[in-house]
């Protein structure tokens, strides 16, 4: 059977677009990388202050033991959620719109976990002993406490990182091989590293397909479990405002909301800058924005449940804490969160907004802000108003914490920018497969 001209044309355009993204970077890219490195430097200096002089450089105090750093941790774990959701769960559900976006989303996941994983170390009083949280054999027979959610965290995050990294690398193999075959010298050796000796034989394709399916199945429960475990950091405690069985599903929905919004926030400028409009179409974005809308509704429902449960049944520390969250020192942040996470996404019911790049970008950027604030509100306001009113306190982030937050964005975008230029940000193989599949269906239909 000969390949029709249209299909060949489509395949060539896919190749062309993908290869174009690998062209020598422009000045803008260089400037962005420099900016990211500068941010990392700020973050590193800020952390060095904490290491040298102690946590006094944060705004933490008694009673607020966790603040912006833990907020950042949960935020970045949340960002790391969409990738696996899009690649694994949507793969299992055969949701075709994932094809064009999953590679970028997966990369975001891996870099998100890489960023998130730093924070449990950064926020320690004695970060140089961070490895004590891992169960390693030692002659003093010191054990770790498997009852502690922080130990669960360490396992969940490291597992998630390994699986999502493997998932990304497995999917990358055929594309890396294609790029390897079309390049020379250092570039060729670089792609060869990621191609892992891929030759494109039928046998390899068969194994790859099976392995990919296996990873997808393996990663799917992780999407649910990782953020559930993170939520247990709070839910397992007895702090009013944290201690709630609602937290795991609520956090997973929130994570997907923030992750997908981050994907959209990143994809809109990327497809423009890298001229990928042909591959990442408005239809893809439309499907993603529906996901934002759905998870936003779940999150709104969770907020309401949380409040209704706390308000029911008279005076209690829970009620005081929740009311404080909405009306206390940080009330503007609470209502900004409601605006970003609950009200803004409602506009996505309108097809006009879903179809407008600007509208979509605005809604999703606001969700990102709102989701960061959600974690901030949960972490800080609950600790500020714990059970003993005498100790009610206030927390104001200090420069070192803000510096580390800035640094974490620098760190994330540094890797992401490298990824954009060095590896294919769309899956060439799967797009081609899809194009071929479309052709077959059309042919069958015609017949």
């Amino acid at each position: 059977m000969s390949v029709p001209v249209a299909v060949a044309e489509r395949m060539r355009s896919i190749d062309k677009s993908a290869e174009d993204t690998q062209q020598a970077p422009g000045l803008g890219w260089g400037a962005l990388v420099a900016l990211a490195v500068a941010c990392i430097a700020i973050g590193a200096y800020s952390w060095s202050l904490i290491i040298r002089f102690g946590m006094q450089y944060t705004g933490l105090n008694r009673p607020v033991g966790w603040g912006v750093l833990i907020t950042d941790f949960v935020f970045w774990v949340g960002i790391a959620h969409s990738g696996t959701l899009i690649s694994a769960i949507l793969f299992l559900f055969r949701a075709r719109f994932r094809t064009a976006v999953y590679r970028a989303a997966e990369a975001m996941t891996v870099f998100g976990v890489m960023t998130a994983g730093l924070f449990p170390i950064i926020h320690l009083g004695r970060p140089w002993y961070a490895f004590w949280i891992l169960p390693y054999p030692n002659q003093r027979h010191l054990q770790i406490n498997f009852r502690s959610p922080l130990v669960w965290d360490a396992f969940a995050i490291s597992t998630y990182f390994c699986v999502s990294a493997m998932f990304l690398l497995a999917g990358l193999m055929p594309d890396a091989a294609a790029l390897r075959d079309g390049s020379q010298g250092l570039r060729r050796r670089f792609y060869a590293l990621f191609a892992m000796g891929w030759r494109g034989t039928a046998e390899e394709w068969r194994h790859h397909g099976r392995a990919y399916l296996f990873f997808a199945a393996f990663a799917t429960p992780l999407v649910i479990s990782v953020h559930s475990v993170v939520s247990w950091d709070f839910a397992v405690s007895i702090v009013p405002g944290w201690h709630s069985t609602l937290f795991p599903p609520y956090f997973v929905a929130g994570a997907i909301l923030s992750g997908v919004s981050m994907v959209i926030t990143l994809l809109i400028p990327i497809r423009r800058a890298m001229k990928l409009e042909g591959l990442i179409t408005m239809q893809h974005l439309d499907m993603l924005s529906r996901l934002v809308l759905l998870t936003s509704l779940i999150v709104t429902y969770s907020y309401s449940t949380e409040f209704l449960l706390a308000l029911r049944g008279g005076a209690s520390p829970e009620r005081d804490t929740l009311l404080y969250r909405a009306t206390g020192a940080f009330w503007p942040l609470f209502w900004l969160m409601v605006l970003g996470n609950c009200i803004g996404p409602l506009f996505l019911f309108l097809k006009r907004v879903r179809g407008s790049l600007l509208g979509l970008f605005a809604v999703c950027a606001l969700v990102n802000v709102g989701m960061w604030l959600e974690r901030f509100n949960i972490v800080v306001s609950s600790l500020e108003h714990n059970r003993i009113p005498f100790d009610w306190g206030a927390y104001h982030p200090r420069l070192a914490e803000i510096g580390i937050t800035v640094g974490s964005f620098g760190w994330f975008f540094f890797w992401f920018l490298l990824f954009l230029k060095l590896l294919p940000s769309v899956s060439i193989a799967e797009l081609k497969e899809e194009a071929a599949h479309d052709h077959h269906q059309e042919a069958a239909h015609a017949a």
Partner: protein
Amino acid sequence: MSGMGRRFFLKIASATGAAAACSPSHAPEMLVPLLNPPENMVPGKPLFYRTVCRGCGAGCGVTARSREGRVVKLEGSPDDPIGGGALCARGQAELQSLYAPDRLRGPLVRHGTELVPVPWADALAQVGALLGKLRGADGFVHGLRMLSRCEPGSTGAVQKAFVSALTPAAKARVVFEPRDLVCLRAANTQLFGKAELPVLDLSRARAVVSFGADFLETWLSPVEQARTFMAARSGADRPRLTWVGPRLSMSGANADDWLRVRPGDELQVAIELLRWLVDPANRVAHLAPEAAAIRAALPPSRMPQGISPEQIAHLGGELSVRRPSALLGPAALASGGGGTALAAAVQLTNFVLGNLGKTVLLGLSSEEDAPSAEEEVRGLLEEARRGEVKALFLHRADPLGKLPASARAEEALRKVPLIVWFGERLDATARLAQFALADHHALESFGDLEPRKGILELQQPALSPLWDTRASSQVLLDLAATLALPGIVDKDFHELSKSRWQAAAKALGAELDSPHAQRNVQARGIVVGRALAAARPLRLEALPWFLGTRVSPGDGLQLVAFATTLASADPEAPGWLREVPDALTGVSWSSWAELSPITAQRLGVKAGNLLALRTEEGATELPAVINPALHEGAVAVPQEAPELRALGAMGRAVRVERTGKTFALPLTGHASQEGRDLARVVPRDEEPKHDHDHGHKHERGGTLVPPHEHPKHRWAMSIDLDKCTGCQACVVACYAENNLPVVGPQAARDGRLMAWLRIQRSFESISPAAPAETRIAVLPSLCQHCDAAPCEPVCPVYATYHTPEGLNAQVYNRCIGTRYCANNCPYDVRVFNWADPVFVEPLQMQLNPDVSVRSKGVMEKCTFCVQRIRYAEGVARGEGREVRDGEVTPACVQTCPAQALVFGDAKDPQARVVSQQQDGRAYRLLEEVNTLPAIAYLARRGGGEP
């Protein structure tokens, strides 16, 4: 070994050998044992010395615990009838004044505008030469004066001998005690003919009325009074305490009733109360026969503003039934005619009710060295101002820093050609001196003290002097020898003091015949003899004098100076006293001015706003604090505040304005407990008798994890809220025992104070309609050592765990600083080290070697003083027995003047703590979280019948 050939092995071996040979050099560490170790000193074994606390005039006996030659802790001496084994916050902090970094390290002499170090021999020679020059033909230095703090012992005797040998002038030595109860002394002089202070025995009082006297904090002998009053309180017939005044002090917070009056109106309340009692219509039985004469002398009735005749009748009725009672007052800083009149009215009421000799004992006050009247101090300054004072000796007296600015002390002192100053740390006056001679600290000196009749306390050094200091009395003896003063034969102060105290001890009936008996007395550090209170007849002719005194408080705001148990406002106080927040307001490291919520609202003032205060004497600026327990006619300033000097005495009319500036006031503690009922009160008639549930009243829904096994001991505590006065002695004792760092004002602002134990104060039932209903509740908060501790499961590395003895232990070395345990602690008692602790040289010498100093990044908290538990267990094991009940006392329990804290083994059915925890008033904090704490609180008793 296939990969390793012969040559490779040699390479490796030589390289490692070379590396080992040039390992980086370490500073040499000397571990040289003493060739001849001092007698009794065994490394790791504490030594105990008995001496006496000189923090205030009360004269509590203390035991100084010494380790390897350094004193690390002060504790009340159990043999002492005054302190009774307890010590207040200030007494605990005496240790920090010993190790104060700014203590003088040797004598100084003026060189131009500066004081520069000088050898002792030169300093003494120069003073001797100058005095020699001033000496007239008759051998006297006519313009010589001495200003000393009260020294009722050998030191005072040496001073008197020295001064009288050098000058014939009467009253050349003036005793300067700015905090002395001058009004009470003056009133006793008028009424009973003797300038004395009473000794209180509140254990017999069935009702106490305090007219502004903070008798549980600083007034007279606070440790003793807290003990005796609270002992009475725990009895079957709980005495009632009524507080009269514009401001609830911490003592007032313990009161059952508050008569909330304008500043100055206390006198009117006292007179109306007296009138009610002596009124035959009220038929009060067993009054003194002078009642009729007193009634005849009373001025016409005038009810103070805000007080109804019913309230007076209520209080009068209570006092007529509850006998004996005790009326106390006025506050230390009360002054002028109003203060003396109030003191007289109070004492007269005590007299009429027959309290004198029962609860208020006269004739026991030490006659050794009574403080001079204020006029004498001012007279001395006046002499100086006229240029008549040629040489002035100052012994631990700081008129410049302590007298109000209106006394113009600086102007006077600048006219004195020779000022010789003795003290430990340079104060305002020392900066004008020609010679600043460094004195020993009380813990480095010999001496003797008669704080009251029938009690002799020995001052004995607990460590060798840290610096090149000399006892001031020794310096005076040396000077006397140089000048060949007549009548002073002793050369050595130690010998003089010894012969003096031995004579005094013999007079008290002590056995001193053998060296063994002498050593016994020295080991006890105290001799207690018999002294009986004297009956004093009333001088009826004095009545018209004070009963005619009228104080008419103005309508504006008036200045109230109040005493605090700590010294947040005193820039010269040791770090512990400045850092531990004032219990009522929560302020540390700063002076402040208190306004009532109504006044604050009227002036538009918020906490932290800088206020401009102006009286007729001067003006100053102070940050505002809103105190719900303050009368709206008052502005209250702590008496330690240096700014108070500019404003003058108590009772002045003061104008308050906003400056528009704000001051970052280190302020901790939310004002209210938000209805959560943490510090509970049980009404008297609803008190349950016995509780078999050990205070665990909450439905125990069972736990998933079975409770811990405690094979031998389960350490537990009970805290009686009816006895806790909120004095914070326990807090400072905890700082001392457990090496808690002082972190300073900025950390205090940031909410990073390191205290393991805190007094949580809350203002309750505050309503603008009935401000007199304001109640203050206190709750000592420390680690509850829960059986189901929420902090334990969340620690990822097992840095915190439950010991087999029931302690919630914290392993500092294992802690990585996640702070999760602190977040999850419902009691907020865990403390994080935000920075490395700083102990300025030589404060590190105070550190307790039994407790590690924690580094930055680790969590810490109350350990129930595990080192003291281990010590007691070690002693018991050495004696081949079990630990006895009451043998283990954490520092807080040990020092509690009110004995509100009881510690013991919950597995010992005979233990006091078990019976306390079974009391009907017992409850556990936050029972709803089911943490099963080891600490039970005993609810405060409510008012009950009058």
